[in-house]
Structures are given as structure tokens and as C-alpha cells.
């Protein structure tokens, strides 16, 4: 908690933290690592490695806070909607609503600003940043049709695995509004078990496991589908680059076996718990992991 106070505090920021503290105080005392804190740590680490992105920083922090607020608002709305928690009385439902609108608007603005900043960073037009930051979209975005699915998943995972299991949750609009969750590697195995079971969504079919090398970290992406409910979900598990390790889900979905071997072979992610982790595409005595971004091939002309 002390780390949060180190940041320049803004009005909305402190409010958001108070809200989250109020709501999370009711749930069983959590480990000191909040998902938001972890994310901020990671983003601060990202900031340290990219000094050239300094002008974007304050905006980015603002956006992160707005995202946190949105999440908190969502959680509040959910808690209010379900009404199952005895410590969240209906009295909080009414005052949350106008605040919720405000937060949604702030989230939408943040999203727009984020998009503009991204376009600026890549398009290279310095003037665009400030111009588009000032604009706001006409109205807040309508909630995605698959939002209830995402919320359901969040609930399942939060109740059965733990509050800190899910780092990030969003709707991937590009991909047909697929619910996309980021799960922490420590809780991934338990989360996978939950997802497979009937009270977690019955995701019995693991369609695809991909490994992605973002230069700052590695990520393993799982695409799930439920043959029963026809729902889809994307789960990401992030891990660091020095000692990448994601628990293997081969005991849960047997199809992960060779997929994880391929990711180990080509990206170097270790999967503790895998029955037979060895190289699959490259020869057994190959050194290095070819799909990594910093891989130097033996033949430099290739």
C-alpha cells in the first residue's frame, strides 16, 4: 500500500483507492500484492527501460488509474448487482451509479487518449498527441455484448482461485469481442482447473497455445472454447524473460503437451509439471530459442 502513496496523488486517484479499499475490505484479507499494484510495478519497469517515452508517462499513469477506476467501478457494480455480499448493502448501489457513469466516461476518454498516444508514438506526429488528448468521443462506448461472459469468468476465477489471480480483464473487440484475461503464473494451474470444470465455464477444449515474445516479457496465450456452451475465452499468462516459467496445464488439457513443447523449444519458456519437456522441432542439441526477438541465427544471411 505504501507504494501507491509514492505516486503523485490525484483527486480521482485517491477516490478510486478509497473505493477499492472500502470494497475489498469486506473480502477476506488479501495478500499485499494487489493486481493494480503489480501492474503498476510492471509498467514502471517498462518505463525504466524506455526513457524515450517520458512525455507519455503522466498520461499513461492517468490512463492506468482510469483503467483501475473502471475496473473498480465494474467490480462495485457487479457486487451491487449480485447483492450476494452482505457487506455491500443496497445503499451503495444508488451513489455508485452516477460515479459509474463518470468513471465509464473517464475510461472512454482514457482509451481514446491511449489510442491517440499510440498513433502518435508510431505515426511520429508530435502535434497529434496534445490535439487528440483534448478531444473526447461523443458518447461512452456501449458495453460489449460479451461483457456478461467476461464478468462471469471474473467471478468464477475470483471466487474459486483468488482475488489476485486475474491481473487484467478486457474484451478483445478486434476478435469478435472475445473475453481476454491475464492470469498470474502462480495461480494459473488452479485457474485452469476452474475453467475446465463446470462451475468455471466448462472450457473443455483448448484450441491453441501460443507463445509471444514481447521484448520486455514473454507471454503464453491460451485460446479456450467450451464445446458445451460454445463460448470462447483467451487467457494470457505473462512471465519474465530471464527465467520464464509457466506451470504446465498438460494434466488438465492433454493437448497442451506438444504445444508447450513447441513453445519451450522455440521461445525457451519452461513449463514445470510437464511430463516430457524437450525440444520438438529443432534438433535435440540446438542452442538457443529461435523464435525469440533477440535470437542470433548461426547463418547471418538467413
Amino acid at each position: 500500500m505504501s507504494e501507491e502513496k509514492e505516486r503523485p496523488s490525484e483527486q480521482a486517484g485517491t477516490e478510486a483507492k478509497q473505493e477499492t479499499e472500502a470494497h475489498t475490505a469486506d473480502s477476506p484479507p488479501e495478500a499485499p500484492k494487489d493486481p493494480e499494484v503489480v501492474e503498476k510495478n510492471e509498467s514502471s519497469a517498462a518505463h525504466e527501460t524506455k526513457p524515450s517515452a517520458a512525455p507519455v508517462d503522466p498520461e499513461r499513469e492517468a490512463k492506468l488509474k482510469a483503467a483501475a477506476e473502471a475496473r473498480a467501478a465494474r467490480a462495485a457494480a457487479k457486487a451491487a448487482a449480485e447483492g450476494g455480499q452482505p457487506s455491500a448493502p443496497d445503499a451503495t448501489a444508488a451513489p455508485v451509479d452516477p460515479e459509474r457513469e463518470a468513471k465509464l466516461k473517464a475510461a472512454a476518454e482514457a482509451r481514446a487518449a491511449r489510442a491517440a498516444a499510440k498513433a502518435a508514438a508510431e505515426g511520429g506526429t508530435p502535434g497529434g498527441t496534445s490535439a487528440s488528448a483534448g478531444e473526447t468521443p461523443a458518447e461512452p462506448k456501449a458495453p460489449s455484448p460479451k461483457q456478461p461472459e467476461l464478468d462471469e469468468l471474473l467471478v468464477h476465477l475470483r471466487t474459486q482461485v483468488g482475488d489476485s489471480a486475474v491481473e487484467e480483464a478486457s474484451i478483445n473487440e478486434l476478435n469478435g469481442h472475445m473475453p481476454m484475461l491475464t492470469v498470474r503464473p502462480e495461480q494459473w494451474l488452479a485457474a485452469a482447473q476452474t475453467l475446465r470444470s463446470t462451475d468455471g465455464g466448462t472450457f473443455d477444449y483448448l484450441r491453441n497455445v501460443s507463445g509471444v515474445d514481447y521484448e520486455t516479457h514473454l507471454e503464453v496465450v491460451y485460446h479456450l472454447v467450451s464445446l458445451v456452451t460454445k463460448r470462447e475465452a483467451t487467457i494470457k499468462v505473462k512471465t519474465n524473460r530471464e527465467q520464464p516459467s509457466v506451470p504446465s496445464v498438460t494434466p488438465i488439457w492433454a493437448t497442451a503437451n506438444w504445444n508447450e513443447r513447441e513453445i519451450y523449444d522455440l521461445l525457451g519458456v519452461a513449463f514445470p509439471g510437464h511430463p516430457d519437456l524437450r525440444r520438438i522441432m529443432m534438433p535435440d542439441d540446438w542452442v538457443g530459442h529461435p523464435l525469440r526477438k533477440d535470437y542470433v541465427s548461426l547463418d547471418s544471411e538467413v
Binding site: 499510440k118 477444449y205 484450441r207 507463445g211 496465450v221 485460446h223 506438444w258 522441432m281 534438433p283
Partner: protein, 366 residues
């Protein structure tokens, strides 16, 4: 004292029945297999790594070469992924053309599988009949896009070449011809006692195993699980057509055989309907920006290729090249069940089971 030893035997990498460069290390106790370890990677060409330096249109020829027996569906999965990301609208004529070539490709691929499977089992003639009929389809493709095997036909937003009315008439003529041939093949092979004795009851597994191992295509549907992406998550124009999904009951090689033959019939049915609905004019390419730059984000789409579910996972940073491009290859995933199925089988059944899974090694290794 009789001492029995275990024999370690190598099937492949060069072997007429492994359908490509693929190796299985088999531990035998007499004639019975105790353990089988597939070794692959002989055909690994680094498509995914290469793709990180190429624009999306440049990657399309690489997709042809992954599952070279079924190149049109590979093309489609990539362009469909990019179009999903960019929310591009594909004109009607182009979409119909895509569907027609994909279904023709399905028939051609299943014919190759049928011919080579029977060749492995020992019957020499069906191989030649299958290839004779596949020649008709391949000639149609040759006329359409200039290539017989690796077509490079689809583009982001449409297709490259338009089809003339004469071409469409040739496809229309092909359909009753193929239906007649299928009846002939059924009479020749499907009722043959020796063939049935070789195939029935071999390599059986249940639905739970199939779902667990992520099998797709005929390998999943032979256990009775009704999951065909054309029906469950329709893409392209498949929701406009009326067709059945053949399902099996026992999960053995015979069911897979029957399902694939029936799928040819259903493809012919889809083709008939598609050709009836075919738009008379229209563009073959939609409104696509000159430089294809999908927005930042990631997407995963999958379609039903003749071998199963082929998927494409693109992570884009808003540039012309993908940041990460991963193909979910059905042969790679389907092959995982081979070591499990082979335990306790004889060497002869190894060939039968491996052929029944229907792999293309170009896809296994990518």
C-alpha cells in the same frame, strides 16, 4: 531359459507410409508395440519466424506450403484473420469464389487421403482412381489461378483472380461426375471384407479422450462429438447453406474413413447450392487500403480445413508486418494421440492408424 529382448525400430524418416518426412521410434516386444515416440521437425522451415519480417500479402504464399495438400484453406485462415482485425468487408462474389475453391479443395484433399490410405493398406488401384479425379479439380485450379498445388489465390479483402462463367460451368459439370464416382468407390472399397477386417475396431478412442487431446476434424467427429467450425462458429458464407455434418459412433478408423467420404458428398452438396446462388457480377477485391496495417491488438480465428481446425493467431503492433504470427495446425495437434493409440498394437496397425489420422508433415512442422 528364453531371453526376450525389446527391439528398437525406426519407422522413417524416409518411408513410403509416413506421409512425408516423419519418424517414429518404436519399441517392440515381438510384434507388439510397447512404446512409440514420434520425432518431427524434419520439415520445420521457420514459417512463423519468417513471417515477422514480411507483410501480410507476402506471407500468403508461405501458407500455401504448410498444408500443401489443402492450400486454399490455409490461404483463407490468414486473410480471414487480417480481415477480422481490420474489419474489412469482402465483396459477395469474392466470398462465393472463396467458398467454392475451399470446398473443391476439401474434396481434393480427401481424395488424396483416400488414395494413399488404401495404398498403405495394400490396394493399389484406388490410389490411381483418386488421383484421376483429383486431376480434374487441380486442372480447374490451374485454370483459375495458374498453379496446381500452391495457389496464392486469396488476398486480404478478396481474391486475386476472377472466374469466368465457363469455369463455373466446368465446376457444375464436375459435381455429378464426382457423385457417380463416389458410388463406385463405395462399391469397390467400403464393402470389401478384407478392408473392413483391417480397419474396423482399429485405433478406437472415446469422446473424452478426443476433446482432451484437442483433436479436430474427422478425428473428433468419429467419436460422436458434433463440432464442425463451419456449423458451430460459421465463417465465410457457410450459414447460408444446408449441409450435414457426418458423425461417427465408435471412434475407430472405419468411422473416420466413412466420415471423410461422406464429407466429400456434403462438399458436393454445398458446391451445388453455392453455384446456384453465385452472384452474376461483382468485384473480386474489396476496399482495402494500399498498405495493409491492422490495428494494434491480437486476434485468433480458426476455420475447418480438411484435416481439422486450422487457426491463425496474429499479434499486431499496427505495423505492416505481424509482430507474432502463429498457426494452429491441425495435423500437429491431431498427431499427439498417436503414441497413446499405438501402445499394444502390431506394426501393421501402426500404418493403418497413422494413415487414419490424416497428417501432412508440412503442417506438423510448419
Amino acid at each position: 531359459m528364453i531371453r526376450t529382448e525389446e527391439l528398437l525400430l525406426n519407422v522413417g524418416p524416409q518411408h513410403p507410409s509416413t506421409h512425408g518426412v516423419f519418424r517414429i521410434i518404436v519399441k517392440l516386444d515381438g510384434e507388439v508395440i510397447i512404446e512409440a515416440t514420434p520425432v518431427m521437425g524434419y520439415l520445420h522451415r521457420g514459417t512463423e519466424k519468417l513471417a515477422e519480417d514480411l507483410s501480410y500479402t507476402q506471407i500468403i504464399p508461405y501458407t500455401d506450403r504448410m498444408d500443401y495438400v489443402s492450400a486454399m484453406t490455409n490461404n483463407y485462415v490468414l486473410v480471414h484473420a487480417v480481415e477480422t482485425m481490420m474489419e474489412l468487408a469482402v465483396p459477395e462474389r469474392a466470398e462465393y469464389l472463396r467458398l467454392v475453391v475451399m470446398e473443391l479443395q476439401r474434396i481434393a484433399s480427401h481424395l488424396v487421403w483416400w488414395g494413399t490410405y488404401l495404398l498403405d493398406i495394400g490396394a493399389m488401384s484406388p490410389f490411381l482412381y483418386a488421383f484421376r479425379d483429383r486431376e480434374t479439380i487441380v486442372n480447374l485450379f490451374n485454370e483459375l489461378c495458374g498453379a496446381r498445388l500452391t495457389y496464392n489465390y486469396m488476398r486480404v479483402g478478396g481474391v486475386k483472380w476472377d472466374a469466368s462463367d465457363a469455369w463455373l460451368d466446368k465446376v457444375r459439370d464436375f459435381i455429378p461426375y464426382m457423385e457417380k464416382k463416389l458410388i463406385e468407390y463405395d462399391k469397390l472399397v467400403s464393402g470389401n471384407e478384407i478392408f473392413l477386417a483391417r480397419i474396423r475396431g482399429v485405433g478406437a478412442y472415446d469422446a473424452k479422450t478426443a476433446i482432451d487431446y484437442g483433436l479436430s476434424g474427422a478425428n473428433l467427429r468419429c467419436t460422436g462429438v458434433d463440432w464442425d467450425i463451419r456449423r458451430a462458429k460459421p465463417y465465410s458464407l457457410y450459414d447460408r447453406f444446408d449441409f450435414d455434418i457426418p458423425l461417427g459412433t465408435n471412434g475407430d478408423c472405419y468411422d473416420r474413413y466413412l466420415i471423410r467420404l461422406e464429407e466429400i458428398r456434403q462438399s458436393l452438396r454445398i458446391l451445388t447450392q453455392a453455384l446456384q446462388q453465385f452472384p452474376s457480377g461483382g468485384e473480386t477485391m474489396g476496399k482495402v487500403p494500399r498498405v495493409i496495417r491492422p490495428p494494434a491488438g491480437e486476434v485468433y480465428v480458426s476455420i475447418e480445413s480438411p484435416r481439422g481446425e486450422i487457426g491463425c493467431h496474429i499479434v499486431s503492433k499496427g505495423k505492416q508486418e505481424p509482430y507474432r504470427l502463429k498457426f494452429r495446425r491441425p495435423s500437429f495437434v491431431n498427431l499427439q494421440i498417436l503414441p497413446k493409440l499405438l501402445v499394444g498394437e502390431t506394426m501393421t496397425n501402426l500404418i493403418t492408424i497413422l494413415g487414419g489420422i490424416d497428417i501432412v508433415v508440412g503442417e506438423v512442422d510448419c
